[in-house]
Symmetry: C2
Subunit: 335 residues, 2 copies
DNA sequence: GTGAAAGCGCTAACAC
DNA sequence: GTGTTAGCGCTTTCAC
């Protein structure tokens, strides 16, 4: 099944390849008649441009690398959908890698992507700081890097797509307070994740404002899995910390926590209300449905793709930060 | 940040590009000394092969298209992980598309993939039959097509990776029977999905064998979402069909069903046991954890990639069916 | 053991 | 308005 090339069309129509090319590209310097003949023949013979040849010509690989911490929750999938929506129509392909919340794997992934000659990398960090050297090196080499959700520390000037972690956390905690909860525990995730610290800050600020802050209510976890969420609650109980609600760093941690509560016959939200930050479909899949700060994941993906395209078009484009609005969605777990 | 090419090395070492190329490829016809010089220089200058050029030369796009019905559950993500494990080391990139359980979108996706000049397509169907013409056409054009999980009807001879839907369903239903359940409802999913019919067959066979088959216990759904699972149970209740357990076509339908039960204060598994078929992480995320037929998703992805590589290497390779073992995992929802 | 040259499919100066 | 030519980065005959 040999593919039809411009050469084939050229022979078929007894025209030079350049004329064919021009006709196909809607170049003005082509007789209307000729263009029509070319287009018809292309259609008839089933001509399709060879993207590889185009890429070689343009010096691009038309491949974007993606690094995400995990793909178990629909978080990354949703963002990817946005990225794909933006990039597929432009002929970009993807190499999607997962770091499994492990900086070492993240490093390997980035190196893999370099081997792929990617035109750029869109990344959601697993932990801050560990690989800052590599991020910088990649950018220095001229490969655009765009961050979303979990971003590196302020020491690195980068393009990024985020929501305001601190403010949205404050809003969610304030909502819990307004519903009458006073002992709000916070499962904050690993302290090496920048957003975890930000969200904890938002939590602290509002708890302090209402004069109900208690250091003991905060518990950080080693990792981001459901198991870590469970453990966190278990620890709170073991330490005999009293709490009437939980605000968790992520859907995953929250659901882990919920499961532990349910296993121990603690009613949600009767005994303990639960709220989280993420906004994945998981929050409406579990029972009771989970109140959560909903991030506009698909739009975030589209925005990240947009920043990437900017950088690809003009490598000297300034780094930009896109701050997206999140939405508090109230569900059964707090009502 | 100009990339180093073979030409650069050639100038740098005053050697012809062909010698550089040979040295890099470990061709025997190169002086050992020369090879070492080349390798050193390549390392020093940071040479990396241009994959696009390689691809143009070899006539491949080194891109594999993927079509999956959805990415909300971790099902596809797991399979993808297997595919990626197998294909990334070989330099393949992916274009992953979602059909949203919609044959029309599936069609568009396939056409998009053709435009990408993919070397092959790995696909998990949304509904059988609708696009058989297109599958055939794609294969006729010489683009290898490998199916997994949801496959087309027998009329199409294709390479595929599956588990035995019928037998595993029988086993799961028999397990429910052995735990004392007699009124086992089956939420079977849309009848246009081949696997749904297969799994229903497995269900029927074993129910009949034990003389407890009742047509009323089977309910098919319009779609595959959580909502459809809910609706199914609701209908069973409305029809006043008595049941002490549910066997669902997928985790998603099962979880939707579970949520409806819980919302109506029906105890799981006390009043109604629930089991499903899929084997995604979702089954251990929900509460109570869900008994399920666990498919070896990652391995299935690897197998599919393997079949694809076979076809790419030798387009006349015969179609093969890889039948994988599934595992029944018993969790709280049936204990 | 090494070099020169052609060619993968396409576009874009540069002619005419 | 159309054709000729060179070249993107690489491999691979074909010479020597």
């Amino acid at each position: 099944m040999k593919r039809i090339t411009i050469k084939d069309l050229s022979k078929f129509l007894s025209l030079s390849t350049s004329t064919i090319s021009r006709a196909l590209l809607n170049d003005k310097n082509v007789n209307l008649e000729t263009r029509k003949r070319v287009l018809d023949a292309a259609d008839q013979l089933g001509y399709k441009p060879n993207l590889t040849a185009l890429n070689l010509k343009s010096g691009q690989s038309k491949t974007i690398g993606i690094v995400v911490p995990e793909m178990i929750t629909p978080f990354s999938a949703k963002v990817l959908e946005g990225i794909q929506n933006a990039l597929y129509p432009l002929g970009y392909r993807l190499v999607i890698t997962q770091s499994d919340e492990n900086p070492v794997i993240e490093r390997k992934n980035l190196q893999l992507l370099e081997d792929f000659n990617v035109d750029g990398i869109i990344i959601n960090l697993c932990h801050e700081t560990y690989n800052n050297d590599l991020y910088q090196q990649i950018m220095d080499q001229g490969t655009p890097l765009v961050f979303f959700d979990r971003i590196p520390g302020k020491s690195l000037d980068v393009s990024k797509v985020i929501v305001d972690d601190s403010i949205n956390s404050s809003l969610m905690v304030e909502y819990l307070i307004k519903t009458g909860r006073k002992r709000i525990a916070h499962i904050m995730g690993p302290q090496t994740i920048r957003n975890a610290v930000e969200r904890a800050n938002g939590y602290k600020r509002i708890m302090t404002k209402y004069n109900i802050f208690d250091e003991n209510l905060i518990i950080s976890t080693e990792g981001m899995s459901f198991g870590h969420g469970k453990e966190a609650v278990q620890q709170l109980l073991e330490r005999e910390v009293k709490f009437d609600s939980i605000f968790a760093f992520s859907d995953t941690l929250a659901i882990g926590a919920m499961n532990f509560l349910l296993e121990n016959n603690i009613k949600i939200p009767g005994d303990v209300a639960v709220a989280s930050f993420s906004g994945t479909e998981l929050s409406s899949i579990v029972y009771p449905q989970l109140t959560s700060v909903q991030q506009p994941l698909k739009s975030m993906g589209e925005a990240a793709a947009g920043l990437m395209l900017e950088k690809i078009k003009d490598s000297s484009a300034p780094n930009r930060t896109v701050l997206m609005d999140a939405e508090l969605v109230y569900r059964a777990s707090t009502l």
